[in-house]
Symmetry: C2
Subunit: 223 residues, 2 copies
DNA sequence: CCAAAAGTGTTATATATACACCCATGA
DNA sequence: TCATGGGTGTATATATAACACTTTTGG
């Protein structure tokens, strides 16, 4: 998945789908994937599939979602699938093969098998983690303006996030690093935006849940 | 897993382990489980395994955790395992077979394969969900006092939770139902404790994360 | 100098923790 | 009536949402 910034249309969260050429559900859109080899684990496998089949190598985050194992989830012999969430930053727009395309997650075409529910589950997981982890780093270029970050947060969450509060919350949590540089202002003027980057590119829980914390810690984080 | 209330020892979170009789890692403690049949999904399978092998049928919650698929995680041919978290309420103490026993999660014996990390991962998941969902219902009898609830929350989280605040937080979230009945006071007197039950026995997210909520909703929940 | 975009100051509100105090029971 | 455990009232801390206001640029 990745947040789109295609000019014109309102930005949205997109998923890369592959049009099936084989018979069960031929012609329908499906998630990229394939069989697990005996000498690889599932994470290695999904990275290999994406690289080989759709030339997708620039994943900023890969995370296991769930196992789908209903004996009737696909016609014929039962197939056990492990679903993954893989993120690609918005500035990466790789050449995708002819038979694949990015689709808005909130307006999916008819998909094969149970892939629609897998995609929606992945979206929900991503939305949740955007609130309590630093996973935003996986959606944007290394250096970015708060405006861009806001656009992609909004696209992913499905509603308009305030740039002011986004900046504040992420700063308070210590996720943002001021690079010292600025982006040039547009042709219509305006103050040049500071370029920020994320302090860490590993997923970390940055907003530990509030309730039932060990006594004495309150909700403080540092100092 | 279940929270223990064994008199004497400090209460703790326990996990049911089975002593291996077969050769790889013979004699070590391992998680109950077994092979997936062609006509069942993984959730059905784990319930069947628990019922057949350790006579454990009174699970109040079963939840998928993760797939473990490292080709070298067990000796010999690769085995892909789907780990589950299964909860048993504290008042259920089924007859477990000779070769199984409950062990404190924070003081595990030597385990087989990668089972220690699976157990610790399950514990962490349960601890997190205790904060932001109503999963506590799965740990206690249908009707319970706040004191009992506090004991099991404390055992599970690993630190002493305040009964006062536990009551308040869960009430505010609308999770607790006053049954109208009370538990008799102990031999040393004391005010009889109100018996509560959980409003729902399905896992629900009761504390949606704070940051980046749709505009206009603030953090309010009702009214 | 004006429009536009970025960023800061300030206030209101929600939720949780801490702790003092009151309540109901057995002996 | 006293010890014991159960339960409520109230103060405080902290985080976020909302919005007014200031800053910095292009034309």
């Amino acid at each position: 998945m990745r947040p789109s910034s295609d000019s014109g249309a309102p930005p949205s969260l997109q998923v890369l789908l592959w049009r099936r050429a084989l018979d069960p559900h031929i012609g329908r859109w499906s998630l990229p994937g394939g069989r697990l080899r005996a000498d690889e684990d599932v994470a290695t496998s999904i990275r290999r599939q994406l690289a080989e089949k759709v030339d997708m190598r620039q994943l900023t985050h890969v995370e296991q979602l769930a196992v789908f194992s209903d004996p009737r989830r696909v016609p014929g012999p039962r197939v056990v699938a492990t679903a993954f969430l893989g993120l690609v930053p918005s500035d990466v727009d790789p050449e995708v093969p002819e038979d694949t395309a990015w689709h808005p997650v909130d307006d999916l075409p008819r998909t094969a098998f149970d892939h629609e529910s897998i995609v929606l589950g992945a979206r929900d997981r991503l939305r949740a983690k955007l609130s309590y982890t630093n996973i935003g780093f996986a959606l944007v270029p290394r250096d970015f303006t708060i405006s861009l970050l806001r656009e992609h947060y909004s696209a992913t969450l499905g509603y308009r996030v305030s740039a002011t509060n986004l900046q504040r919350v992420l700063s308070r949590r210590g996720l943002l690093v001021d690079t010292g540089r600025t982006a040039p202002s547009g042709r219509s003027g305006g103050r040049p935006a500071t370029l920020y980057s994320f302090a860490s590119h590993d997923v970390q829980i940055t907003d530990p849940f509030a309730a039932f914390k060990p006594p004495g810690t309150g909700r403080e984080r540092s100092s």
